[in-house]
């Protein structure tokens, strides 16, 4: 569980997007698990993300016309998973984030914290090795923020899921085992908090 900490404009989000293959690096290369993703085509990147990466965004980015379980299951739809299995796994993921009782609700009927939990469930559902989270607590109040961070910590411990979290909130960074401080596009220092 790694936090990228730094003031805005320090390049932490850009770093995360490069990691996720959403933007190509202008120079150098990105290697994740022996995959040289900086050389992949757009289509290969889509497949790679589907298999190995999960994303959590500051603004949740749920699809407003779908309810919670459909949003979570959508990621599996693209992977060609059958409907029954899809719904079962989506439900399991929602159980992990504690939202089974809200699974028929549309995003607009959920609070910010609940929406973020749905988006965490969506990131979890295809069991990726790495989950990239861009300011997951950025839109949430401090109480909800700590709930979300505790959940992420628990997932990291119990599901052995790697999280890379971008944040400018030192409170959120406290939950992480490693903190990378960034400034003006450069890594300032590493910090091991274990």
């Amino acid at each position: 569980m790694v936090a990228l900490l730094g003031p805005s404009g320090s390049g932490k989000s850009t770093f995360l997007n490069v990691l996720g293959g959403l933007v190509p690096p202008t120079s150098g290369e990105v290697i994740i698990k022996d995959y040289r993703i900086s050389d992949m085509t757009e289509n290969e990147l889509c497949l790679f993300r589907r298999e190995h990466l999960g994303f959590i965004f500051q603004s949740y980015n749920l699809i407003s016309t779908m309810n919670a379980i459909e949003n979570v299951a959508l990621a599996l739809t693209f992977a060609g998973v059958k409907k029954e299995i899809r719904l079962k796994r989506a439900k399991e993921a929602l159980e992990i984030v504690g939202l089974v009782d809200r699974m028929e609700h549309k995003p607009s009927e959920l609070s910010g914290g609940q929406q973020q939990r749905v988006s965490i469930a969506r990131a979890l559902v295809n069991h990726p090795e790495i989950i990239l989270a861009d300011e997951p607590t950025g839109n949430l109040d401090s109480k909800t923020s700590s709930d979300i961070m505790e959940m992420i910590t628990k997932l990291n411990r119990e599901e052995k899921q790697t999280f890379v979290i971008v944040t400018h909130d030192p409170e959120a960074a406290k939950y992480c085992t490693k903190v990378i401080h960034m400034r003006d596009g450069l890594i300032e220092r590493w910090e091991d908090q274990r």
Partner: protein, 430 residues
């Protein structure tokens, strides 16, 4: 992503903007319906005319004449061509031997005869055919029966035979005739032929004949003729013209060849032409008319096609709008694992659905319009069974495929645009 899921997702997306989708579909409906109705009117005109012309017997009957082309040439040359083919009994035997031919008869025509019946006079033409082959010819009677080989004084009447007056003994002008040909079955009628003799006086000759039946409508000249025995008509002809035709030397002026099936008409026609005769069949007319009607249909379909083109622009517009609205969603889908082809196919499926739904509704509406057109036309046109608009199964299939393809093609460009959106830019857009 499997196809079923793709279709389900596209279907759900389609109905998120119900009003816009319905408007777009209406565009396709109008386009499809206008093509179908336009072409169906072309079809209807063709069907009415071909049905009229291709009565039961006429499509299997071939008319054979002396070679008109060579006669014209010899006339211009002022002499008789040696190898000119004569349509005599030997020639008829040759014709009979062609595969698929069931009956051959010489034909002699006589016009200007009148029928006296119930103090009225009706102008008719006589058509003499060989009664020995009458049974094999495709002349079906709607009522009564055909005369037998030896019923030389029996005749059958064409369907329209009594619809033309020449004179009325009561002095009345042409009026609604009250005598149907069927009324005359089993009765004797008088055939009156007149000529002007050498002294300039008018002579008439009357033949009593018995009506045995009424001919089914063929759409040809038979409808207005009385079919009689060849010998009788030849006899009357000779009396009227005062000259005897030497069949062996000069041949018959016309012969009718009946074939077993309309499918062999073309091959038989070709063989008869090889003998050196001029051939005329209803099939030839129908075929040449077919190409005219095809042109008409292409023209009418083209007019309808303009409406579909406009609908096509509507689909492109709707899909493009839809992509702008859903940019963020497309980005999300790409980030959570949708491939480029998933996104592309999703939008193409949506636009194809618009086309297909529009096509189906368009077909239903065109059937309704077609029925209405025929109903309204039926109010004004009372003679016969007129179809103004006729929708063929082929037209339905064509319209359905065409509208689906229009939908698909309209979706391709917007879909590619959607698929190529940068996921990061897309996800950041609001």
């Amino acid at each position: 992503m499997n196809k079923q899921e793709l279709l389900r997702l596209s279907w759900e997306n389609l109905w998120r903007m119900k009003f816009r989708t319905i408007l777009t579909i209406i565009g396709v409906v109008i386009g499809t319906a206008s093509i179908i109705v336009m072409v169906s009117i072309g079809n209807g005109a063709q069907k009415s005319i071909t049905d009229e012309l291709s009565g039961a017997g006429s499509v299997t009957t071939i008319q054979v004449y002396k070679d008109i082309g060579s006669t014209g040439m010899t006339m211009m040359a002022g002499g008789k061509k040696e190898d000119e083919k004569i349509l005599n009994d030997d020639a008829l035997k040759d014709l009979k031997r062609i595969d698929g031919v069931v009956a051959v008869t010489p034909v002699v025509n006589l016009s200007g005869a009148t029928v006296d019946y119930d103090r009225e006079q009706y102008g008719v033409s006589l058509m003499g055919v060989d009664y020995n082959v009458m049974e094999d010819m495709r002349y079906n009677t709607t009522s009564g029966k055909k005369p037998g080989a030896n019923d030389h004084n029996s005749v059958i009447l064409g369907k329209e035979v009594l619809s033309s007056y020449t004179l009325s003994s009561t002095g009345a002008q042409a009026q609604e005739n009250t005598v149907a040909p069927e009324d005359l079955i089993g009765q004797n009628i008088s055939l009156v032929i007149s000529k002007t003799n050498a002294n300039g006086d008018e002579e008439t000759r009357t033949e009593k004949v018995k009506v045995t039946g009424v001919l089914e409508s063929t759409g040809g000249s038979e409808d207005y003729s009385i079919i009689a025995d060849y010998k009788l008509v030849t006899d009357l002809n000779q009396w009227q013209t005062g000259t005897k035709v030497n069949v062996k030397k000069q041949g018959y002026s016309e012969a009718l060849v009946t074939v077993e099936d309309s499918s062999v008409v073309n091959t038989v026609t070709a063989q008869i032409e090889d003998f050196g005769f001029t051939v005329f069949s209803m099939q030839q007319i129908l075929e040449s008319m077919g190409s005219v009607f095809q042109m008409l249909q292409i023209l009418l379909g083209g007019i309808g096609g303009v409406a579909l083109l406009v609908a096509c622009i509507g689909i492109v517009n709707t899909m493009t709008m839809s992509i702008y609205e859903r940019t963020k969603e497309i980005g999300i889908m790409k980030v959570i694992g949708a491939s480029i082809s998933d996104i592309r196919n999703m939008f193409i499926a949506e636009s194809t659905m618009i086309g297909l739904i529009g096509g189906i509704v368009g077909i239903i509406i065109s059937f309704i319009l077609s029925i209405l057109i025929n109903l309204i036309a039926g109010l004004f046109i009372t003679t016969g069974n007129v179809t103004i608009s006729y929708i063929t199964p082929g037209l339905v299939v064509f319209a359905l495929l065409f509208s689906a393809i229009v939908g698909l093609l309209s979706g391709v460009r917007p879909a590619i645009k959607a698929a190529n959106l940068s996921s990061l830019d897309a996800i950041r857009s609001e």
